[in-house]
Point group: C2
Chain length 607, copies 2
């Protein structure tokens, strides 16, 4: 327990006392671990946080934010005054770290996410930037129960990430009780070794042992290292040390605690700067153009996805692709074949896949990550947190909706629009044909925030001319008419056009709007249709909640013209069957669309 370690403790107690909330005891257990890191092993220019050669520090146990901010003060990055704004409205020192301050890479606070993201940063360092920076990740022992941590352990070893060091702060006590493992460090060591890591068990309050462990980690080649540190929660203050019931609250008597810790200090550490000033690796690219398809061709948009990201990858060296071991289904395999060094196979571990993408974008890379649309639900917490991380992510889900057919409902995304619409700052795209898909992918590459694109298993007809502009927030009219508007997306656009053609023969003129951009929706096109057509039918291969239909209703919520809207969507649990059988059973095929449109067109028109 060095002077610096004690200062970090004191400042954790002080900021939490000032906020009257926070997690000082969870900070105090790891103070020595972080003090030795700062003094002897970290290579981070706090005055120049954008230096690409900087090491990265991630607090996977984000609730230990008092410690994190105390480190910033000790490094001279923030003042003591700012430290004491912790958790106040308007302060950048939020309850859990968020990257509105430049030293924080990503938001943490949902346990089990920091280490998988650290794996992404370490992958970026080794395979993309090709710089010798290290990633140091402080983990709590409670979060070792999260499966995502073991996805990270497996992938980091598989990828040989010796630039990654995990530090487990084994203070034994969770929020309400002892963890399943307690202080049995050997169990963590055995698990880590079984997953292919180098593991070192130490007393986390013995500065020499900590120093030696970091040195050993830095010298270990070929595998990542985990330091399993036995610590005491609330270390240094008898009123809380190693006691249950002291989680997530300020100390009852902060003043006495500060005195017991030796009083306030104002040490500033000269954290070592990274050597070199080397520039990150850049990939030479041949350039090229987006693929295009002829009108009338039948192409699956997942195939267009593969071709388009491959083309975008040829134009932009900072584009990378990841997949969850279904690259021959999503067609991201085309990218792998063309740009092997920028393709990352993440296996059946969707949380680690999204986390790796988050980590890579921290370093400025532009990841496109793909799997079956249904399986992004597995990573929903990571996507939610990525929005808080202000991450720029491009995600694509294939094989969505009942139209996939025989595989059955476990493989059918029917909630992806709802889930992704409810991600802050997201866009939600669902092209109905290959030309739309290509242009939307190019737009995603340049977009900030989280972009989601659903592709289709089956083929659809190319209706969009290759030279027609397709934009995020746009739409297109796939069939002209003004007796009724049918708003559709994806697989059901072909069905809606077939319905419109059938209605035409009956003297009903239906406008089909292909709403390939569900968020942001083309409000102007919807409001125009509301004015001109008088009645609206929405159709989607999705549950009725939270998808295209709700987006259309939202676009009209306070519009001057608010015609009746009939929502067609999947309302019963689907089964296996042929795509056509399932579209029919769900009443989202041409017949059902024509029926619904006929009814409201009649009701709404004076004839």
């Amino acid at each position: 327990m060095s002077e610096l370690g004690q200062q970090l403790r004191v400042d954790s107690v002080r900021s939490s006392a000032a906020a009257n909330s926070g997690h000082p005891t969870s900070s105090m257990s790891a103070a020595d671990l972080m003090a030795v890191l700062m003094e002897k092993h970290l290579r981070l220019d706090y005055q120049n946080p954008e230096d690409p050669n900087n090491d990265h520090v991630i607090f996977s146990k984000g609730h230990a934010s008092p410690l994190y901010y105390a480190m910033l003060k000790a490094a001279g990055a923030i003042t003591d005054e700012e430290l004491l704004t912790f958790r106040r409205f308007g302060s950048k020192l939020e309850g859990h770290p968020v990257p509105i301050i430049p030293w924080v890479d990503v938001a943490t606070g949902s346990l089990g996410q920091g280490l998988p993201i650290a794996v992404g940063e370490a992958l970026a360092g080794k395979k993309l930037d090709r710089l010798p920076y290290r990633v140091w990740c402080l983990c709590g022992d409670s979060e070792m129960a999260e499966g995502s941590m073991w996805e990270a352990f497996e992938h980091a070893a598989f990828a040989g990430l010796d630039n990654l060091t995990a530090i487990i702060d084994v203070n034994r006590l969770g929020q309400t009780r002892e963890t399943m493992v307690g202080w049995d460090l050997d169990r963590y060591v055995k698990r880590a070794e079984a997953f292919g890591w180098h593991a070192i068990a130490i007393d986390g309050h013995d500065d020499d042992a900590i120093d030696a462990a970091y040195a050993e980690a830095r010298e270990t080649a070929g595998t990542p290292t985990v330091i399993v540190a036995r610590t005491k929660k609330g270390k240094g203050v008898k009123a809380v040390e190693d006691l249950p019931g002291k989680h997530g609250k300020p100390l009852d008597d902060a003043e006495a605690a500060i005195e017991e810790l030796g009083g306030e200090r104002d040490l500033t550490v000269e954290v070592a700067k990274p050597e070199g000033g080397r520039a990150p690796h850049r990939f030479d690219v041949p350039g090229g153009e987006l693929p295009t398809w002829e009108l009338g061709e039948e192409v699956a948009t997942r195939e267009a996805y593969g071709k388009s990201i491959t083309a975008v990858g040829a134009m932009h060296g900072d584009v990378v692709a990841l997949d969850g071991e279904v690259s021959n289904s999503t067609h991201s395999e085309m990218f792998r074949e063309a740009h092997e060094e920028r393709y990352f196979e993440m296996f059946i571990a969707e949380q680690q896949m999204v986390a790796a993408a988050v980590g890579m974008q921290v370093r400025g890379w532009k990841p496109f990550a793909s799997t079956f649309a249904a399986f992004f639900t597995r990573a929903y917490d990571f996507i939610r947190m990525a929005a808080i991380s202000r991450a720029d992510l491009r995600l694509s889900g294939s094989h969505a909706g009942v139209s996939i057919g025989e595989d059955g409902p476990s493989q059918m995304a029917l909630e992806d629009f709802a889930a992704f619409r409810a991600v802050h700052g997201s866009c939600v795209l669902h092209p109905s044909d290959a030309n739309q898909c290509a242009q939307l992918i190019e737009a995603m590459a340049d977009r900030k925030g989280i972009s989601y694109l659903r592709t289709l298993r089956g083929k659809t007809q190319v209706r969009t001319p290759a030279d027609e502009a397709v934009t995020i927030g746009g739409s297109r009219i796939a069939h002209e008419g003004d007796d009724v508007a049918i708003v559709a997306c994806g697989i059901v656009v072909d069905q809606a056009v077939a319905a419109a053609e059938q209605l035409e023969g009956e003297g009903v003129s239906a406008r089909v709007i292909d709403a390939y951009s569900i968020k942001p929706l083309d409000q102007e096109a919807i409001r125009t249709a509301a004015r001109e057509c008088g009645a609206i039918v929405t159709v989607e291969d999705h549950w009725p909640e939270g998808g295209l239909g709700d987006a259309v209703l939202d676009a009209l919520a306070d519009a001057e013209e608010r015609p009746p809207v009939t929502k067609l969507a999947v309302r019963e649990m689907p089964t296996s069957g042929k795509p056509d059988e399932l579209l029919h059973a769900a009443a989202i095929d041409a017949e059902a669309i024509a029926g619904a449109a006929r009814q409201v067109a009649k009701a709404g028109s004076p004839a």
Copy 2:
């Protein structure tokens, strides 16, 4: 490779050929493992699938459904004719198993879920039913990359589930390539041992070795056993055996394959029936009544949650509670204190928590599972799949929305309504006071399907008389008026009432509808308000997408009266701060509500 094993292979090839899709090669690798299980170790009365003493068989690798259905035929549970309806529209033999047939406990097909659910069934067997049935879970090796599998490994060992046997079918080949571990069985063994399991590595095509391993598993006391079986994908047919590129497709030449496997067979296995006929354990309960609160009391609904589930647990011995190591925050600790034997601490492993609840409800138990609302996003895929499993689950998320205050956005559920509304057959509840909470919890206990209830960190005023009926699908008027309707839920009901009281002084009469049931929404109350009030403002502590506002719009989509709707919701990324500061910053406080209501009441009224 026994005759039965070969029959299971042949039938897997046949059903996939008839369907022209499916996963025969992933079935063939595990055929011997399942043949020996059926012939020698399984205790399952296929003619009486509801026998509580039956063993359970879960295919965590749900895509091996051809093998599962071939087993059903071999057990005499289905005919050969039905077997050949595999994957057809109208058949109960879907692409991945679903419990529309009585032998299937739960839907699988999203990898990494079967084993965590098996843990739930084994917990039910050991701690609730107290019957000696065993749970046999066939796992794929690809899915061992899913973190959820390691949550299951950890919890099963922690709980000493020696009634659980996992069988890993290590056929080495995933969908596109070799797994990260390949045939290195020892790595699986070491990992399993490090997580506290007994592990046995065998040749998965050696019937004697398989038999011995099962016998050893059955004899192993105190810990679960995993059988790590080296197998060959497509075993028995040279055209596919151990070859890449053969995943998820029927064999090119099924006839030749069947011949190579020795031709069709029609063996029926006399699977052993369970001994005994013992009745499941039942918990004696004292009875009691729901708690009630006085009007005007200030109570947090999370506290009401704790008291109410405890009361429901005292009335019903089949109610159980699970928590993700935040029981002093959700207040499920009250249930633990009152009904310790029916409380399950699931630690920081939300996927395993939901999966355990799914497993317990298979056996008729009624689980209430709680954590912070934000962290159910971690288990969203499990919840999606639970709907396909036709599971009856009660989930409660606390600490939602910006109103939690200082902890910041990582802990603020702002997408839970959207996510849970888009779960098939779900209900989504958000009581604004303690009396509502209690009655809704009692209703949830009896409800089929997936029920979700959001509780609040902070206190709200009790406005609902204890003897007023509160129902799923209901609502209440918290303030009378007919110039404008304000539809609110949860924390913002107090804000809406304050706004209405303020507006009253200005001569604007506002009706406040407390929409505590978001799905199903009280459509009648909303449509009545639309007719009588002429303008609607919705308010929610949630993102604008997919929540209460969208539900209100949906209720009015094709109504005769469709007044303008103004949606107030959280539109910018929140920060830390005091609850009031954050409600104000998000423009969902009384001031913002009054402002929005004033504007539309003026616009809408003739005055």
